[in-house]
Symmetry: C2
């Protein structure tokens, strides 16, 4: 099947490689480099230096050929590279669904987190292989790699849900995921915490 199927979609089987995070047949592949994440890390200077210093790939999203159109149920596998930008763990841009609908993430490899924000409340779900994170309708969501290996997960989402990345730029995500300078542990800090300032303890 070609890069993206056109409705009406026929029944078909997708070989799901949980170990190497592949979908075969494969649809679109999205690559997000550091330069695509402008305005998202707390430390804009550190972000700009990372862009200047090779503009690394932060994450990739491999989709199945099922298209993002109403009534279909597309799937994708995201791989977030391990990394830190001024102490903040590498992450996806995060988005809100313009049409509020639920979504699931299934952890495949590595150790990550699912940060959710409904505009008032923020929630954090620890993600690892064998964990399904449930994203209810109306919750913006961002994935974060909090480990030292690539963090990979399978997403399944209604094709009509859509992606609003601007919502996150406008509202933030409630919390930021940092590596504590002293312990090296995950430290979730309020979104407005200035870059480099360190808060002790968990929220």
């Amino acid at each position: 099947m070609s890069i993206s199927a056109t409705p009406p979609i026929q029944p078909f089987a997708i070989t799901f490689g949980a170990d190497n995070a592949t979908l075969e047949p494969q649809g679109q592949v999205l690559t997000r480099r550091m330069s695509d994440l402008e305005g998202l890390f707390a430390d804009a200077d550190a972000w700009a230096r990372a862009v200047a210093d090779g503009d690394p790939v932060v994450y990739t999203v491999v989709s199945s050929p099922v298209p993002e159109v109403p009534r279909e149920l597309p799937q994708s596998i995201t791989t977030i590279q391990p990394g830190l930008t001024a102490g903040e763990f590498w992450m996806t841009k995060g988005h809100q669904h313009p049409d509020p609908q639920g979504e699931i993430y299934l952890g495949l490899a590595g150790h990550g987190g699912l940060l959710l924000f409904d505009g008032e409340r923020a929630e954090w779900l620890d993600m690892s292989p064998g964990v399904i994170g449930y994203i209810p309708p109306g919750w913006a969501h961002r994935s974060v790699n909090v480990g030292d290996e690539p963090y990979k997960f399978l997403a399944v989402y209604p094709g009509s849900a859509g992606h609003d990345y601007g919502w996150v730029l406008e509202h933030g995500m409630g919390l930021r995921a940092r590596r504590a300078a002293d312990s090296g542990d995950l430290d979730l800090v309020p979104f407005g915490t200035p870059a480099g300032r360190h808060r002790t303890g968990k929220p």
Copy 2:
């Protein structure tokens, strides 16, 4: 979380046991015995004998607490026991979505098949661990255990899709999955093939 959450659902993590086919927290558990499958096997007499002879459990469906309501994305794990009724492999009732929307099945254990029927065309997808079967909107679907071990799969489906079991009783599923008397292989026969009559070759 209790047996079935009530919207608004909060974000939560579900531990997905791919090996033992569990979801924790667990929601509703549905048990389908032979007596629940009236009118579905080609050989009604053999079906009635199986009901009289202990009415065995044919399949179970364990759901997560995410409810089947619009905008949510529920999940469940189905386990179909291995078995034959007059040569026909044990299977689910099969259903059509009253609101046509896509669904995915992800094979977890055993060897099964996904039979799809849009009222005119029938399709068969071989299912095993690591295969995602894509069910497009408008295709009725039934799962079949064609192996000697329990066949297990994870389903993810829109909460508003619904389940119309009557559609299958009225329209059939296009094909029946039988064990060939000679070779023991899977034999897909047209739906109207009389029970006990054996067709050679694949459709």
